[in-house]
Structures are given as structure tokens and as C-alpha cells.
């Protein structure tokens, strides 16, 4: 696979003014200002390869968005280097900008809101030098995937959040970028729009082999789209690897979901810690190694109507990673 993104010791340090509390300190700070160095991103390194969709996760303030902004050329780092498709992002060369897109769920469309969606797409065509043939072909494909027909002649200001996201995706993908930076793409959306967006991202990447770096606080986004995750905390990379491996490392147990004949409450604590019990269905925490033996005992001792072995919810795994770190 071709390497599309190479990040080496990338750093961003802000110099922020600080002062003690109280009016006296505020007055003194007018003459003698004190500053503190704040490392938003601290020597971050990773590589991404063509066609990869990588989850870029971490708690608020971990440095994810700052990293995305440096990689898309918006911010100039204070240290380190990055190479994307052979370009240094912060030089913002047109040839580079034509091949990347950054899409923010909080602000999916940035241009003038009084224009119609079609006018905005035409403007993108001009800015990104997309020829007419490619424009029509790409628009046809995006239309099929995002169902834009009823939106094209509407003003952007009149669109709902979900419609804005669909149009924002179309506006940013009409020129077929090879690298996508997706910053919370499903934030604030209802369940059906979230699923549509996820399906679209997966389909787009499969079709174009685009490389995607995705930040999201919704672990369902990450679970659905990414095999690999990079976990950031306090500006540094704490984990970079397979999502399943991270889950196994942080959660040394699985969930056995077992449904039994009859709704009578039973004591199953001898098999493991019972998380939930409702209408004859039980979620039992079982150590990964013990799953086969416990399953066999359950099947032998009880009239089981259904049994499933589940990974623990990713939200809990990641929450644990944020709170206790990755060993």
C-alpha cells in the first residue's frame, strides 16, 4: 500500500497569558505579563496508507482537531514535520489543497449561505478546476449516494442540519479529494442521518480508495468505519493500532448474552458478573479465556433459547482508556 500521510514529531505549542486572581494581579499584568507554554500537540507521529479509514479519538482537548488543522494547512506547527501526498500541508500549495478536504460536522458548509446548493457546487467547480465532464460524473454519483435531487435548488440557509451535512459532503467531495479529514461528521444528527452519513463515508472510500482520518466522540462511528485507531490524550499518541486489540487489552472480558426459557429470575452469579437481567435475558461478564467453558456449562445446565458472545461496548472501553490510560 502507498503511504499517503507521514507525520513526524508534529507539535503545536501555544503561548498563553496567565495571571493570578484578583484586581491587583490584573493591574500588574498590564505592565508585566506572564506566559505559559501550552503543548496542544506534542511530538505526534504516525503514518496512514491509501484507502485506510483511521479513527482519531481522544477526550476533549486531546489535540485531535489541532492536528487535523495542521494536516489540512490551516495551522502552522511549532515543531515537527508532515508529508501528505508529497506536500508539506502548511505551505498550502493549490496542487495540495485540490487533493484534500476537511469536513467539520459542526460547520459542514462554510461559504455564503444565501446561494443555492447548485450554485455553491458550481463555485466549487471553479475554485477546484473541475472540468465539466468530471463535474457531471461526480455530481451524478454523489446524487445517487446522498439523494440531493430535492436540495440542489434550495438556499443553504434554509437547510436542516442533516441536509447541510449531506450538501457539505457533496461540496467537499465534488472534486474527488484523495485525503479526507472528518472532524465529528455526525455531531448533532438524528439516528437515520447518522447511519446515512456512515454508509456514505464507507461507500465513498471503498469506491475512491480515499484515505480518511476521522475524529468522533461517537464510538459507533469509529466501530462502524475504522479497523485502526489512533488514541490521543494530552497532545500525545497513547495508542496506534487495531481497534479490536485495544478493546481486548482494555477489557479482559466478553459479554455472554443468554436467553432462557421462562421469565423467572435465576441466580447466574456463579458463571460471572451479571450486568443486566430482563425478561429472561441476561448479560454476563466472562473472562475471555473462560468463554468456552462457561458457555458449555450454561448450555448443559439451563434450557437456553438463544446465546451470543459479544465484545463489551466500545464506549466503555474507550472511557476506561481515557480515565486509566492504555497499558
Amino acid at each position: 500500500m502507498d503511504r499517503t500521510i507521514h507525520v513526524h514529531h508534529l507539535s503545536m505549542t501555544y503561548r498563553v497569558p496567565v495571571r493570578q486572581e484578583g484586581l491587583g494581579a490584573a493591574l500588574r499584568s498590564l505592565i508585566h505579563r506572564s506566559y505559559r507554554e501550552l503543548a496542544a500537540v506534542d511530538a505526534v507521529s504516525f503514518d496512514l496508507f491509501a484507502g485506510e479509514i483511521v479513527g482519531f479519538i481522544g477526550p476533549n482537548g486531546a489535540g485531535k482537531t489541532t492536528t487535523l488543522k495542521m494536516l489540512s494547512g490551516i495551522l502552522h506547527p511549532t515543531g515537527g514535520d508532515a508529508d501528505i501526498l508529497g506536500f508539506q500541508p502548511w505551505k498550502r500549495q493549490p496542487a495540495f489543497l485540490r487533493r484534500i478536504a476537511i469536513i467539520r460536522g459542526s460547520q459542514p458548509i462554510g461559504g455564503p449561505v444565501e446561494l443555492t446548493v447548485m450554485d455553491s457546487l458550481r463555485l466549487q467547480q471553479l475554485i477546484y478546476d473541475v472540468d465539466d465532464r468530471a463535474f457531471k460524473r461526480n455530481l451524478g454519483q454523489l446524487n445517487a449516494m446522498l439523494d440531493l435531487r430535492t436540495l440542489l435548488d434550495r438556499q443553504i440557509r434554509a437547510l436542516s442540519l442533516g441536509e447541510r451535512m449531506r450538501c457539505g459532503l457533496a461540496l467537499n467531495l465534488i472534486y474527488r479529494p484523495e485525503v479526507l479529514f472528518l472532524d465529528e461528521p455526525t455531531i448533532g444528527m438524528d439516528a437515520s442521518v447518522v447511519e446515512t452519513t456512515r454508509q456514505f463515508i464507507a461507500a465513498y472510500c471503498q469506491e475512491t480508495a480515499a484515505t480518511v482520518l476521522l475524529t468522533s466522540h461517537y464510538m459507533a462511528d469509529v466501530e462502524r468505519l475504522c479497523r485502526r485507531v489512533i488514541l490521543m490524550d494530552k497532545g500525545t499518541v497513547r495508542y496506534d493500532g487495531d481497534l479490536r486489540t485495544l478493546s481486548e487489552r482494555l477489557s479482559p472480558y466478553k459479554i455472554l448474552r443468554v436467553s432462557l426459557v421462562g421469565a423467572k429470575a435465576l441466580d447466574l452469579s456463579s458463571f460471572g458478573e451479571v450486568d443486566e437481567a430482563e425478561n429472561g435475558t441476561y448479560d454476563i461478564r466472562v473472562g475471555r479465556r473462560d468463554v468456552p467453558s462457561v458457555t458449555a456449562r450454561l448450555l448443559a445446565d439451563f434450557p437456553v433459547t438463544d446465546l451470543a458472545v459479544l465484545e463489551p461496548p466500545l464506549d466503555r472501553v474507550i472511557d476506561r482508556a481515557y480515565r486509566t490510560g492504555v497499558a
Binding site: H76, P112, D119, L123, L126, Y128, E184
Partner: protein, 260 residues
């Protein structure tokens, strides 16, 4: 060439959006007429008491006011939609959108949005200039008109530069909005700078270059200007663009965007 095509496309799309609201057009025409009418009445009142204002006769003052109105229309159409409340865009991190596009960021930032109805004011300004010419009763040579048009273009550039420079201050002082201050300074342009005493005249020529924006173009049409002054105006316009570019590049280094 790409920037010209982009400008035309943005203007056409914005015009299409504006034309969808007929009441907006009507109000814009009425407001522009009311503003121009009240200013012209003021000029008439002044000249009912005197024959000259800073060395300018009535028809010359009318031409100057028409030039000022044309430039006001250009400012309203092409620049103001981009820089009004600019500090809020800086604070909200909305400059990101222009920084990731493969076109000159300064162009997209300062000329990327248009309000075509503002041109109603420019048309009214052109009518006022024509009226001023007719008031003089003299024949104006064509070359004077061409020099006036050239200096009008330079004035438009200087207007754009000064307005954007004022907006860019918020890259250094994000909480500072100087829109109202600029508007106040802009109003000095409706009268000839010779009307003001020193040091105000110096300030209005070299610090807030109101002289190059309205007085010099209007003087070119009424009495003509020397080749030296024409050259100085062109050089001033060029230097202004260079200064704007430098300030933008410098300010951009201070831009920290916003959190998500």
C-alpha cells in the same frame, strides 16, 4: 484569469439570490436615493452661503460627491459583505474555510462575497457626476474622463485595501471591531480635503487616504491632474496592495482558528 472568472460567477450567483427578493431591491433604491438626496441638499445649502468650498465650485463639489457615492456603492457591493463584523469570523475560526481552498486566500476572504444591490448606489453616483458635468456648462475633454476612470479604479483599490486593513486588525486584537470607526472616517471623503486645515489635511491624504479616494479623481475630471499626480496615485495604489499582502501574511501567522 481564474480570479476574474470566479468574481463574475460570484457576482452572477449573488445577483440571482438578491433578485429573488423584490422588496429588498425597492428598499435599496429608496435608501440610496434618500441618502444621496439629503447629502446633495446639504451641498446646496452650503453653496447658498458661499461660492467656493475649499477652492471648489458647486459643480465641482457635486462631481466630487458623485465620485464619493460611486465608491460607496463599490464598497457596499464588493467589500463590506466580506469584512463586516470580521472580528467575529476570526473568533469563530471561520477563516478556516478560505485557507483550505486552492485560490488566493486574501481574494476569497475579502472579495469572495458580493451584495449586488449596493451597485444601485454606484449608479446613482454616476448620475450625480453627470449632473455635476451638466451644471458646469463646459465641454469636458474625453482624456479627462479616461483619467477619471483610471483614478476611480485606483480609488476602488485603495478603498478595498484600507477597509480590509482595518478589519485585519482583529487578527492582533480579536475583540476589536472598528467597522463604525472606518465608516466615520469614510464620511470625510464626501468633501474636498482642501476644506480641512493642517494637520487634518495631511492625515486625510497619507494616513486615511481620503484624498486619493475622492478628491484626486474628482479633480482629474474637473480640472485635470498632472502626470506626476497620476503617477503618484498609481504608485500609491500599488504600494497599498503590497502593504495589504504583507499585513495579511503576517496576521495569518497569528491566526489560531477555534476549537471544534
Amino acid at each position: 484569469m481564474k480570479l476574474l472568472r470566479l468574481s463574475c460567477a460570484i457576482f452572477a450567483m449573488s445577483l440571482k439570490a438578491d433578485l429573488a427578493h423584490r422588496s429588498n431591491i425597492l428598499f435599496q433604491v429608496l435608501l440610496s436615493l434618500a441618502a444621496a438626496g439629503s447629502s446633495l441638499i446639504t451641498v446646496q445649502i452650503i453653496f447658498s452661503r458661499t461660492d467656493h468650498l475649499g477652492g471648489w465650485t458647486l459643480h465641482e463639489a457635486v462631481i466630487l460627491f458623485g465620485t464619493f457615492t460611486i465608491l460607496g456603492g463599490i464598497l457596499l457591493t464588493f467589500v463590506e459583505p466580506n469584512v463586516l463584523w470580521f472580528h467575529q469570523r476570526v473568533i469563530a475560526g471561520q477563516l478556516d474555510e478560505v485557507l483550505v481552498k486552492p485560490a488566493p486566500s486574501l481574494f476569497l476572504l475579502s472579495l469572495g462575497r458580493h451584495a449586488p444591490l449596493g451597485l444601485v448606489q454606484a449608479v446613482i453616483g454616476a448620475v450625480i457626476v453627470a449632473w455635476g458635468i451638466s451644471l458646469s456648462g463646459d465641454a469636458f475633454p474625453v482624456w479627462r474622463g479616461l483619467v477619471w476612470l483610471t483614478l476611480l479604479a485606483v480609488a476602488a483599490v485603495i478603498t478595498w485595501v484600507t477597509r480590509v486593513l482595518v478589519a485585519l486588525i482583529s487578527l492582533w486584537v480579536p475583540g476589536l471591531a472598528l467597522d463604525v470607526v472606518y465608516d466615520g472616517a469614510w464620511q470625510f471623503g464626501r468633501y474636498p480635503v482642501t476644506m480641512y486645515r493642517q494637520p487634518a489635511r495631511f492625515v486625510l491624504t497619507w494616513v486615511l487616504p481620503v484624498a486619493f479616494i475622492t478628491t484626486v479623481p474628482a479633480r482629474a475630471l474637473t480640472r485635470g491632474v498632472s502626470p506626476q499626480l497620476l503617477g503618484a496615485s498609481l504608485a500609491f495604489g500599488f504600494v497599498a496592495i503590497m502593504i495589504l499582502r504583507l499585513v495579511w501574511m503576517s496576521g495569518l501567522r497569528r491566526y489560531t482558528s477555534a476549537t471544534s
